[in-house]
Symmetry: C2
Subunit: 321 residues, 2 copies
Amino acid sequence: MQFEKYHREIDKEISKIKLNNTPKELYDPIRYVLKMKSKRVRPILAILAYKLIHRSWKKIIKPCLSLELFHNFTLIHDDIMDKAPIRRGKKTIHEKWNKNIGILSGDLLMILAYNMLSELPKNMVSKTIARFNEISIKVCEGQQLDMNYQTQNHINEKQYIEMIRLKTATLIGLSLELGGNLAKMNTNELNTLYKIGELFGIGFQLSDDLLDVYGNKNFGKKIGGDILENKNTFLSVKAYELSTKDDRENLNYWKKNSKSSKEKIKKITEIFNKLNLKKITEKKIKLFFDLAYKKLESLKIKKLDKEELKNYLNLLFERKI
Amino acid sequence: MQFEKYHREIDKEISKIKLNNTPKELYDPIRYVLKMKSKRVRPILAILAYKLIHRSWKKIIKPCLSLELFHNFTLIHDDIMDKAPIRRGKKTIHEKWNKNIGILSGDLLMILAYNMLSELPKNMVSKTIARFNEISIKVCEGQQLDMNYQTQNHINEKQYIEMIRLKTATLIGLSLELGGNLAKMNTNELNTLYKIGELFGIGFQLSDDLLDVYGNKNFGKKIGGDILENKNTFLSVKAYELSTKDDRENLNYWKKNSKSSKEKIKKITEIFNKLNLKKITEKKIKLFFDLAYKKLESLKIKKLDKEELKNYLNLLFERKI
């Protein structure tokens, strides 16, 4: 695979992170989570942004790991908050150990993320950490909104998109921006890179929402998982927005019904079908991807050099990677 | 009060921290915790270390706030892990809101701590953050050990002291070190400052343990609180170490007994009295304080300038501040 070399080097660098051995209860979960199957999307995006200009990418892996460590920290804490038992096909930390160990090992992982950043070239540290913090704050805000919205019945499309922008897309934006920053791109170019990532990140999350209902087995997640957990998705939000009174009552009925999971998925999918939500969501996804690609085109860097990043974004979007 | 001016300026600087207003559920707890009554010990120690050399202390407050924010982050998460309902006479965050909000607002507070550090003079940032991380990791390790030891019956004095060193004393050490660092002291002086804080921090925690049993109303905490919660303290650890078989059975009996809190405190205190633990603990506290003061004497800075720091440490130790 074309992108496997990045993955391999990232894993190699992660395995070099010096971790103490005791207390075992603190470090075992961290080793466990860092060894989990992961696409390493964020550091790879940073590397590919760096490679828009420079070739020698291996030397910049270490600061890019901050993105992966921070992402994993958010997953551990989010999984506690969402009471999620499984992540990437394995037990979540609070399930395998307990909540307290989840809280504390997540905290430590965040500290380790900052450790990676403190090793940046000295003249870059302040600004990069300040920017990293800015995005981290948004990620926390997004997670809080996600929790708030779980208990509200009617959020609208705008609220939903803003929530996933904060929670997911900002860190994707930061990934490309960090790579560009390490390549010493100028402020305009960095803003553009951030924006590409943010737009792509929103599109990617929306396609995740779509695949939960209309995906095939390549997707790797169980179909209907979001429906069963009554998660807010682009489709569930639009369904409430577009439904007639009858459909809405039906949706509410099935939302509360947790007895027959197979039937629940079937019935809610039928309402989604009736409301043409597959097409509507595909159109929205295309909108964000087109905007992201347009931004990428606007980056004034030799065309040839953009191909690798484009290729990666495409494969990622098609879940072929 | 002599030290009130520091407290006032620290509070002023904390009130200037820019916090968004939404999501309310994320920022309200942070405002709540930052407004709680607090001695602001850590930033004040940093200021006093800085003042060993320089006079113009107001300009260094901002980076010193990182210590206070980090400390508050640990309190929020520790309180969740310890299921503590009250902190500084007020409801803890997870009690007033809920656990998820406690986890997330704690996370955000840690990010804000790093934000303060990113505003250090550029040539100081990398090294200072790396050192801050080193200590933060130790604080997490200490908290994990504390949790581990709660479920073990027999930890020894050495294990206990190492646990409180990691969990509490290292951050006190870092506080003095950060002040010295901002004053551009050399490595030797910084090591000494760290060590003073660490030794003082251990002594301070031990005196906290003592006052839980033998304190008076000035102490501000309920007498016997640690006993009721079966917390590991220097006294409980020594009691197991020094007790006869009968006393130990007695201790175990009362540890499991939670019906009569008044009698439990009385009975366990009687065993402590019998084992002469007041004297033994006082001796140990004196040992650590003497070592701390000896280290402070060894710092080769004009004697006059040390008085303020000494004075503060004394007042703090005597709980007069």
